[in-house]
């Protein structure tokens, strides 16, 4: 019993060591591969989609001059305009600069609805919402900073910031509004596999949340307008 016990005692550390060694080895291999996937010059291409939040453009009254110098303007009717939330499609290309830094270019496309709600007509006009769809394109570039080595489950967190060009084409294709966008955000990446000496060296998924500040474009003022976007994407490394 003692011998068996001793044998068992003698075996258990070995097995444990082997298991630990294997796990350590696997982890090390994955982490190393992750790190190799972030070697300078490597390129990642990503495609995906998500949600681009809407926002208010503001209220505006159709005013006439009242027949008195002292009274308020005569309000013919009131409008309130909103940019609707809409699904967004996006494509990204990243170039790894170092194990920590990458630069990234992104093209986003969505079709938000511009909705103007009309109310309080002085002559009981029908209260309705007048709408149009816009094609919104965003081309931006930014810096991606990886936050340390991949952690639990190979999830690698990152933060990003950048800016770009905003192009909004009205539904009738007769007018284009353009402007600039600036963003900060962050997310996580998870590599599903990595391999050396192949054309496709890695693949994975990523999730992003960004805050955009839009300047110009379709707006009733010269202020910047804040929008939030949440997207997911599948990426391939070369």
């Amino acid at each position: 019993m003692i011998g068996r016990r001793g044998h068992q005692v003698g075996l258990r550390p070995d097995t444990t060591l082997i298991v630990i060694a294997c796990v350590a080895c696997l982890t090390s291999t994955a982490a190393d591969a992750q790190i190799r996937a972030r070697e300078p010059g490597r390129i990642e291409v990503a495609g995906g989609g998500g949600w681009f939040a809407g926002g208010a453009l503001g209220s505006s009254d159709a005013n006439l001059r009242a027949n008195s110098a002292t009274s308020s303007p005569y309000r013919l009717f009131t409008t309130d305009t909103q940019f609707g939330a809409a699904p967004v499609l996006e494509a990204r290309v990243s170039v790894v600069l170092s194990r920590r830094f990458a630069v990234e270019g992104r093209l986003g496309f969505n079709r938000p609805e511009l909705r103007t709600t009309i109310s309080s007509d002085a002559e009981q006009g029908n209260a309705i919402a007048a709408v149009e769809k816009m094609n919104q394109y965003m081309v931006d570039a930014g810096v991606v900073v990886m936050l340390g080595r991949p952690g639990v489950g190979n999830f690698a967190p990152f933060v990003t910031a950048g800016g770009g060009y905003l192009r909004q084409v009205h539904e009738t294709q007769t007018l284009i509004d353009d402007g600039h966008s600036y963003h900060v955000g962050g997310g996580i990446k998870r590599r599903l596999f990595t391999r050396d000496r192949r054309f496709v060296k890695s693949a994975g998924v990523r999730g992003d949340v960004r805050v955009y500040w839009l300047s110009g474009g379709m707006a009733f003022d010269t202020d910047t307008h804040t929008r939030v976007a949440a997207t997911g994407a599948f990426f391939v490394g070369f």
Binding site: L64, N67, S68, T81, T116, Q124, G125, N126, T172, M218
Partner: protein, 335 residues
Amino acid sequence: MTARPTIRRIVVVAVLAAVLAPRSAAAYLNLSVDLRGQTVRLRWGSSPIRWFASNRGAPGVLAADFQAAAARAFATWQAVPSASLSTQFVGFTSASPLFEDGISTLGFENRPELDRVLGATDFTLDTVTGEIVESDIFLNSAFTWSVSAGGSATAFDVQSVATHEIGHFLGLGHSALGETELRPDGGRRVLASGAVMFPISFGRGNTADRELQPDDIAGISDLYPSSTFRAQTGVLHGHVLRGGRPVFGAHVIAFNPATGQSIAGFVLGDDGSFQIAGLTPGPHVIRVEPLDDADVESFFDGSVDANFSVTFYDRLFVAPKGGAGEQVDITVRPK
């Protein structure tokens, strides 16, 4: 503010009987005349447009003060950046603004029988080209007038009314961008106005019509466009229908929520068509209303259809930067 409604009418002499029957309009209402089967918009063909001031004043207003107020009113129209026109004061004259004499004269005339007319403008046309060759303006000295900088609570403002009449002098018709209410005596009191060219004047003491509104600016720019006006602004065109039939005389307002500006026009086509030029590029709310805020004849002849309710178009109209946008066809709501 006024004791009685005061309507500024276009007094049209001889050849211009047809002027009050415009059959086409872009932004606003342009006066036009049918010549040899073609509709020709009234406008001056040569520049600068020369004018004289009558050497007769009115109680409380010297001829020189009248001339200075009229000159300021001309300058207001001339200063529109998207319009290209030039005017020139030539001198004082003893000629009456009521007579066709080859010179364009502005001055006072005592016309107590026109008890609702503050002022009037008439034209002499070249019947071959349709160009204006003479236009005269009189302000009715049966009313009390003021030229003071801040206006006078007991008098009508010369510069404001002159600005309106000079709009006619240059070829513009009336705007319907305003709201009125009926008075017990059968006239109308203006509640609000969105254009200097609204046919019913503000009351005594009000000087607001010294300043042009977007509708006035669109109208004069459409008539005398600068080199960039057409390329920088958009045109709305379409039809107003009820039960598939055209609604003649319907008043169409294009409101730009981004700028807060309203520019309006009328359905003048037999097929219910309308056109409004001079819109700032961008989305517009389109509102159609019956022409019921002034005497119809102050706008044009014709059987105006006002038997419908105010109706908003359910799409935003996007005015392009240059050229015409998508055609807009609006079906109005029955009353």
